[in-house]
């Protein structure tokens, strides 16, 4: 598939408000992004990638991402499960990550029955925090959103959230399993690259400094910081948030 044939659905409801920058990111790479309101979405068929942008969907009342997730659930969950099964890409940034977790799609469980096994809970500081994060790409596995980014490479990406502490049911074992599966993609680090760097490097208190994860197959991905906001801000090796978008476009181009 050529980039200009790739259709990307950027899904929004009231309060999702990072859709324009997500749109711009994909547009700059020559693909066809579409801003689609949940009320207008009739089918996922035309798309090869579904992106859930950041923001405060439905005000983030109750819990970040919950209302958006439950509306997706009641509208087109089966279709979304099939979309994922067919290998299409699904990404969630910030609020979008929270939505994917509340949908039970991340980290996802083997049975695929939509049980929620994780939560992005309130930051340890109990407040919204906007600051730049240094992220280390810790997975060796090829998540479709990071395939072009070498392992251990670091990116500088803005974080801006109040609920980003990644908690997993099942405790330490569950984390270890996630790590072993290569599902932990990004960790918060300091300038020295240490993956146990404390607050404020780890802005929310996530155990194991987890900033982003994918499902077992690598085609569903979520992260708290905002790569679309650092599309142009290169690190010393010339990588920027752009690499994530290039990765998924390359994946879709090569697969479908």
């Amino acid at each position: 598939m050529k980039p200009e044939d790739i259709n990307i659905c950027i899904l929004r409801i009231e309060g999702t408000n990072n859709e324009q920058e997500m749109y711009d990111a994909f547009k700059r790479l020559g693909t066809k992004p579409h801003l689609v309101h949940l009320n207008e979405l009739s089918s996922l068929k035309p798309y090869q990638c579904l992106m859930i942008p950041g923001g405060f969907s439905a005000g983030d009342y109750i819990r970040a991402g919950t209302i958006f997730a439950s509306r997706i659930k009641s509208n087109f969950m089966d279709e979304l499960n099939n979309f994922i099964k067919e290998g299409y890409a699904v990404g969630g940034i910030c609020n979008g990550f929270q939505v994917l977790v509340e949908l039970g799609l991340l980290p996802g469980n083997p049975k695929g029955n939509g049980t929620i096994t994780a939560c992005l809970s309130r930051n340890d500081s109990a407040r919204f925090e906007c600051r730049h994060s240094i992220l280390k790409h810790v997975s060796s596995k090829k998540c479709v959103f990071t395939s072009l980014l070498p392992q251990n490479e670091q990116l500088i990406v803005p974080s801006a959230h109040a609920e980003g502490k990644f908690l997993l049911s099942g405790g330490k074992k569950a984390y270890e399993k996630l790590e072993k599966n290569g599902q932990i993609i990004f960790k918060y680090v300091n300038y020295k690259g240490e993956t146990n760097a404390p607050y404020p490097w780890n802005p929310n208190g996530s155990p194991y400094n987890i900033a982003g994860i994918c499902n077992k197959r690598g085609n569903v991905f979520g992260m708290m910081p905002h790569p679309e906001r650092s599309f142009f801000s290169k690190n010393e090796h010339g990588y920027s948030g752009k690499i994530l978008f290039e990765s998924v476009v390359k994946y879709i181009g090569g697969t479908f």
Partner: protein
Amino acid sequence: MSDVAEINLEVSDFELKKISEETGIGLSVDELKVVQEYFQKKGRKPTDIELQALGQAWSEHCCYKSSKYYLKKYLFHLKAPQNINVIKEDAGIIEFDKDHAYAVALESHNHPSAIEPYGGAATGIGGILRDVVCMGAQPIALIDPIFFALPTTKSSVIPKSVKHPKFIFSGVVDGIRDYGNRVGIPTIAGMTCFHSGYLGNCLVNVGCVGIVNKKDIIYSKVGNVSDYFVLAGGGTGRDGIHGVTFASKELDDDSATASRSAVQVGDPITKEPLIHACLEANEKKLLTGMKDLGGGGLSCVVGEMALAAGFGAKVQLENVHLKEKDLKPWEIWVSESQERMMMSVREEHLKEVLKIFEKWDVPAVIIGQVIPEKRMELTWKGDKIYDMDLEFVTTGPSYKRPIRPVRINNEHNNYSEPENYEVMIKTIINSLNCASKDWVIRQYDFEVRARTISSSLVGHINNETHADAAVIKPLESSQRGLVFTSDVNPNTVAIDPFWGSAGAVDECVRNIVATGARPHSFADCLNFGNPEKPDKMWEFSQAVQGLAHVAGKIGATFVSGNVSLYNEGPAGACPPTPTILGIGIIDDVDDIITVPFKKEGNLVYLVGKTRDEMAGSVYFNLRSLEGGKVPKVNPYELANASAGLLELANMNKISSCHDISEGGLILALAEMCIGNGIGASIHIKDLLRGDISLFSESNTRWICEVESKDSDAFESNLQAHCTSFALIGTTGGTSLSITHNKRKLADLPISELIKEWQAPLWEIMG
């Protein structure tokens, strides 16, 4: 017509006064007599809704009755070629590039925030967004200058009925955060100022800037006769009733309970789709006019839109969608419920407009139509309940109130030099008005929309220092950037309102120039005390002249603004506070200059003249010294220096730059060291005493870091612009060391500076 009452104005002065108080309309006896006369001619009594509408329209907040004389005389005639449509509308419109303009609005939400900080501040943000959206512009930045009593104030000195400043401060920040972040517009700049004079009367000023394609600019006026009025957004309720009349008087002990209905509640999740829907309908050319519902609610918006085009309006009030039952017609007419917009639409476009709002789940209803006569007529379930001439309603009174000059004391007693400069420097850096504001800044999403080139925090991650101005690149297709700063120093304005206000404009210009941008426009929010008190009115008139003294001579003028009077609480009047929002433009955002030192071994220059102008300085305040001279401004010096620095910036001859303001030279140097952890050795030679040299807050000064290879170019350019400068040191090392006329005054490790500078707000606010 039991929902509407007639009111008899043929009564004694005493009775008239009582009517004004009981109905809450806030008109004076003289003003009510004008109303009386008008209805005598009509041969009937006014209805309650008519009287309420007049109370709104003639309030200080809506008709600027005390201030417009001075504003017109000194500020409004200033001109700049880039101004497209200024002063007249909710937001000023200024040219951005060939095809685009930007919209600027700045307002106060002081009284509501003093009563209910969270809701008051949140709805302040909501209101200012509407002011920009109703010009057809996409909001791109929010700016929040906020002013409080010290959060360390002892509870024992706080009057009953006044909330602790800490509660107010954190409530205001929460409100701005929760609203701004939820609608997804970055709160990118502001100021956070503490002064004991804001006890019981905090100031919450909010600014917004938007970008608009020139062909999409829309004004607050209807198109033609028989256009329909479409009201969109949240339902109308009892919240915010008498908001403007409440903003037009002093707060007293009972305000908190008596003004509950003036409290407004923000609903950003209704607002966010409302913005999308309005902008979509406008871009599709389906609207003839648009205006937001702010102060005065429907009662102001309909008439103003109609009259602006030379017409009138007829409204069926029962069509307004409500969020609670049993509202009286007058309550519907004056309610200031949030998240509402008014549009005028031609018949052939009605359907399409309503469809757009339906898509976004935003209620929209038709409430009336434009009529040819300049008259307003309201009906309620078929009965006529309101019929007045629009010019009568909207003209309102205008006063030239008496003023009484206050003597300014420039003398001061002799005072000694500090015994220990290091201790004094740390005390300054650690004082609340100088210390890091990142406790506030980081609660706001300053990166959303992904167009933030530089925020208020610059330097190494998690050790950032303050920026002079924030930078946004509004368009995908252009490198051009807008630069934002907001400034005022109430300490100097309180002592000398003329020079203090002139200084606020100077500071805006300095901050913009320090970022490498040229000053392009200003907005002002003039927060003063009770205008019926001659000394307060004098402060106001002086301040306006001080602003005019500088603006207009540096290529930028005031394009919009707001006056907030009666800022007096149970603890007295707040210091006069003319907040200035300055906007600059830079051709390529890759060329911005930031504050932190960039490299070891570079030269450090002081640009501008330091004078013995210590009045209102942080240093004097900390030492409880009074008197002295307030820093003055020579606008021509400012223009020359700015031109010189901008030329140098264009030639890439400046590595970093910071203006000198509160805290003086020493704080500016410390902040430049903090950002990237690079120290400096500073050797000052001048004829001043050490403390004056380091701590004076004279205007029109900057510090520049320059590579040694560029020193000739730097010096000769400034000479050519008749601007004085001095080479004062070099960058490098891990400390900031200062000698003054060969005397060593201080040597402070950067790590210590960082600690002193970062900690205070976190320690107090948790």
